[in-house]
């Protein structure tokens, strides 16, 4: 930092620290200090700017003297400001960790519950359930354990149903039906169709069947289901529901989606072209931009009552 820069930095800091003093008086004070520095350097040219400024005193000291002489309250400056911020940072991080741990303990109590009679271990309040014969050797028994990992979205009266099907090349259409609940559809990037459904504990599980080129996933018996489906690309999709929500994420499919009451959300893949046809009898629809590309995927979204959104 050159001489001028160091002096300017000193004066700039001091000006800030003079706080409540009027701007014109501050300007005079700064000018006088600057004049002193120039006199000091003119008297002894071998003296460095740092030495002159050190002789004057820290800007905090000088500014506070001006304030004190005027009967104003001088500012207090921490001796080690970096230390102050380090302490604040540490306490803040510690506080966040304590909050997080407290939340986890509250949410997942009991953390571990062993039921030897029923050969069942419940971990993190039932998020992970382990069933098996604990007396066996660990390596032998690993395959015998059934470990169910529950999504955080599974309530006490609900259960998680998962499934997977590898669709052959003959399958060109996929139909998904549900009555009440939520259906979320996204691209699997493979020929695998997988589902992850939270349904009522007493409800019938969804079923899947194949008839020629048509594969059907039927969640209608599981009233109030919340299903996430990963679907293969290029299949022609039929999504049909009565009440609830259909969410479609970045598909690479032609889609016919219909819902009686609720919301259809469509999030397009920016790298793909679509041709939209939306229809809402009673409600609203967001704007969708259709492509003129003849290869664009046709997307037909139909809703009786509710909203079709592009979020």
């Amino acid at each position: 930092m050159g001489t001028t820069n160091r002096l300017e930095a000193y004066l700039s800091r001091m000006e800030k620290l003079l706080g409540p003093i009027s701007p014109s008086e501050k300007a005079e004070i700064i000018m006088e200090i600057k004049s002193h520095v120039m006199d000091a350097q003119a008297q002894d040219q071998s003296q460095s700017i740092d030495s002159v400024l050190k002789s004057l005193g820290e800007p905090e000291f000088v500014a506070n003297r001006y304030l004190l002489e005027r009967g104003l309250k001088p500012k207090k400056f921490p001796k080690h400001p970096i230390l102050k911020w380090l302490v604040i940072g540490f306490l803040g991080t510690f506080g966040i960790i304590v909050f997080f741990v407290s939340f986890v303990i509250w949410k997942f109590t009991p953390l571990v519950k062993v039921d030897k009679d029923n050969k069942h271990i419940s971990i993190l309040g039932g998020t992970i359930d382990v069933h098996g014969d604990f007396d066996k050797n660990f390596e032998e028994s690993l395959d015998d354990f059934n470990i169910a990992i529950h999504s955080a979205r599974v309530g006490e009266d609900e259960k998680l149903v998962k499934g997977l099907a590898v669709l052959g090349p003959e399958v060109t259409q996929l139909a998904v039906h549900f009555s009440h609940g939520k259906l979320e559809v996204k691209n699997s990037g493979t020929r695998e169709l997988s589902w992850d459904c939270v349904i009522n504990k007493d409800a019938k599980e969804p079923s899947s069947t194949q008839e020629g080129p048509l594969y059907t996933f039927d969640a209608r018996p599981s009233v109030g289901s919340n299903c996430e489906l990963s679907i293969p690309a290029e299949l022609k999709m039929l999504l049909e529901g009565q009440n609830g929500k259909i969410e479609i994420h970045e598909p690479h499919n032609a889609i016919d989606a219909s819902l009686e009451n609720g919301k259809i959300s469509f999030k397009p893949d920016g790298a793909v072209d679509y041709r939209f046809n939306t229809s809402v009898k009673m409600g609203a629809t967001d704007d969708f931009t259709s492509s003129s590309n003849p290869q664009a995927y046709p997307i037909n979204l139909s809703l009786l009552r509710g909203k079709i959104g592009n979020d």
Binding site: E28, I29, M31, E32, I33, K34, S35, H36, M38, D39, A40, A42, Q43, S55, L56, G57, F61, V62, R65, Y66, L68, E69, R70
Partner: protein
């Protein structure tokens, strides 16, 4: 006791230095800050620069001193020159009287 002595010296210097500064200015009619510091140094009365300027500023605001900016054609940069006001001259006279009284009393106590 060591700390009390330092404190006492600080207190007594404070008043004494103000008296010396005003006396110097009176003797030379007008002086600027750096000049005041050099003259005090010559009398072995070192004063921290960061203390003098705020003091001069206060004495200007309370009417003891008046200040004028002047630019020396030779040296180039502007300087703030201080001189005693009429009120300042009265204050100085009182301070000098008080100081002389205190010195006389102390001499008598010493005896």
């Amino acid at each position: 006791m060591g700390l009390n002595l330092i404190n006492w010296k600080t207190q007594i210097r404070k008043g004494y230095l103000e008296l010396c500064i005003l006396t110097l200015i009176c003797a030379h009619e007008r002086l600027y800050g750096f000049d005041i510091l050099e003259r005090l140094k010559a009398f072995a009365l070192d004063m921290k620069e960061g203390t003098l300027y705020p003091l001069l500023n206060r004495m200007t605001m309370d009417g003891t001193l008046s200040a004028v900016w002047e630019t020396d054609n030779v040296k180039g940069h502007p300087r703030k020159f201080y001189s005693l006001t009429t009120q300042g001259a009265k204050i100085l006279a009182e301070m000098q009287d008080e100081f002389k009284k205190m010195a006389a009393i102390f001499k008598q106590i010493e005896k």
